[in-house]
Amino acid sequence: MSEYNYTLLALLVFFLPLLGFLVTILLGKKFSKIYLFEVAIITIVLILSIVIGFFKLGFQVDERIISQFTWIDLKSAGTPYTSFIIELGIVLDNISVIMLFVVSLVSTLVHYFSIAYMKGDPRFNRYFAYLGLFTFSMMGIVLTHNFLMMYIFWELVGVSSYLLIGFWYEKDSASDAAKKAFLANRVGDLGMLAGLLILFTTYHTFTIDNVFGQIALGVLPFNSEFWLTIMGVLLFCGAIGKSAQLPLHVWLPDAMEGPTPVSALIHAATMVAAGVYLVTRIFPLFTGDALLFIAVVGALSALIPATIALTQNDIKKVLAYSTISQLGYMIMALGIGSYFYGYFHLITHAFFKAGLFLAAGSVIHAMHHEQDIQNMGGLRKKLPITYATFLVFCLAISGVPLTSGFLSKDGILAGALAFGSLTGHYLITVVGFTVAMLTAFYMFRLLILTFHGKPKDKHAYDHAHESPALMTVPLIILAVLSFFAFYSFNPTTAEKGWVFEKWIQTPESVVPESARYSFMVPESEIRDRKIIHSETYTKTVHDAHIPAVILSLLLSGFGILVAFTIYYWKKISADKIANSLKPLYKFSLNKWYFDELYDKTFIAFTMFLSKILNWFDAKIIDGVVNGAASVTRGFSKISGGFDTIVIDGFVNFSAFFSGLVGIVLRKMQTGKVQVYIVLLIFSIVILIFYFSR
């Protein structure tokens, strides 16, 4: 296909969801079936993305197709700002094309799922309109080739996320959660904005490729590598907010107040992955220090939410913490230079986590909006399809062989092991393996408590029923995509697969070699296009692969075994463990007291500050205003007195005088025109005589 065709298709994929949004939101009140238009649009978008992906990945795998136009050029406008040029445009390279497919596929499945799940909702059409708005915004993030559009659509996904979390705004908890999500994201976005300001003042362009080019030429912010690190970290702050990394992760669990399909689409598969996508897009500009910061944030975000997920009892909360943990995994992978596996885990995770959420949605639907797993159990027989798919997703997220999760997770763990041995930061390696074990444990705890054992709530159990095909078919599709065969022929490693071999190449870092990780500096002059890391690194990763696989299999096997021992065979009582480790248990159950901590610090501080400001406003500002008012009143009284006596006296006197003159002169006014004319003529005659003298 020619570049023109690619651009045309990409623009269609980009703007069709916007059309769907506009039509559905504007006509939603009039036509109750208009949501079908949105569903049709999104299906077309999926087909077009598949077409783009097929031709791009099949035939033009090495090309980067960029289509751009100059939006603002102050030079040609004749202003002195000669270097103020902003270009907008889209880029089609392999990562954006794959992401395009993932977003449109998950979005389409969620649309179909929602038709059944949201049935009977009074704002049915509006829900679909919001989904369309979200898809449009997400396409913008995926396709953009510049930071400006990235920022704009970054905020737009924030808005649609806000609208969808607060979709049932009659519930206080939902509207509070929406506000919380928005505010937490703003904190991160503020950092991103600061990063963008540094970037634009230094490079005078928003185009990502141009920025890379200038960094490669040695142009640095304030001429120092330190500020390049700061710029990278600030840009990454956007990802911390959007991908719910520590310390801004608190909004994601609360965002589960939204409808469950929304959680699947936005808060598991796509929007929260946008942070990871941003990091992959601008990966070359991170210095070694910035990457280390990213890795630490990722590792913390992988570990802490995983420990919280161990004790949660709300099915969606467990999945939410698991999402934060997995996103932390991806961020960590990118931070330790394992670019490919970070991105690859984003793809595989998108499918199985969306699947987990949709399956949870199916369970919640069957249980009539019961979300507490302590009231479930034994649903395996009632919901066979949901159970089977949920099992597949659990295996995938736990990294069991033959699944997609195994391929991506073991890549990350191998990378972590290599990173530990090369740099000495073994803590990250330890965290990586610990999280693998915890993940396997809490996922199987969730599975067993929900689907196995005896039903706790007999009434709800008796009324439970398998969901309609509209809900189960998306689950089956996602479950099929969770197997290894879509990514690699070899079930043990992704390195032999086409995704790794052909599609995704780690881009070479553009920062000065002195500022990189030492292992990311190529050693030989002949640079293989796939090997941008040093040979030592490649060799270490290769050697780390087998130990990583064995260790991670042992650990996740152990996690699964423990879960079965405690919850299935009940050899050990869960309550006993909880009692013997009471402080730890409480700590985890209360989510490490993050909310309370923020309550006591940031929120309390803000409240305190606003109280002071309120006092200042009431006493000082109002005092000044009131003082000014009374002074003004005093002045008005004086000038009022002056007005009545002096000015009015003057005016009244002149009126009286005029009246007096009038009485005299009135006699001359007969009202007869002819008299006036005679007077006129006489006057003229007198004047003539007077002047001609």
């Binding site: 006014q669 009202g671 025109v673 002819q674």
Partner: protein
């Protein structure tokens, strides 16, 4: 036989002007007042022509005379319209009785 000179024209014009003033001041009927005004205008016209003939001003006098004729026509039209309106409001065209200006 006496030569007709500038003075003769001026005398005729002065007589006409005085007649006009007399008509304007003494007549009670508004239409007659208007006719007086016409006489005044034509007296002025005669002066213009006379000075144009005996003076050294080119065609200026004649032109202004033509202009005055046009003006007089327009003025008459408007004045008659006013008189009609006066009749509508006061049911008379007697200028003595119309002394609204006094009030």
């Amino acid at each position: 036989m006496m030569e007709v000179g500038l003075q003769h024209f001026l005398v005729v014009s002065a007589i006409l002007f005085s007649l006009g003033i007399f008509g304007v001041v003494t007549r009670k009927n508004a239409v007659m007042v208007l006719m007086g005004i016409e006489l005044i205008l034509n007296a002025a016209n005669i002066n213009f022509i006379a000075f144009a003939k005996y003076g050294n001003f080119g065609f200026d006098g004649q032109l202004i005379a033509l202009f005055v004729i046009v003006l007089a026509a327009a003025e008459a039209a408007i004045a008659l319209a006013i008189v009609l309106n006066i009749y509508k409001n006061f049911a008379t065209v007697n200028v003595d009785e119309i002394n609204k200006l006094k009030e």
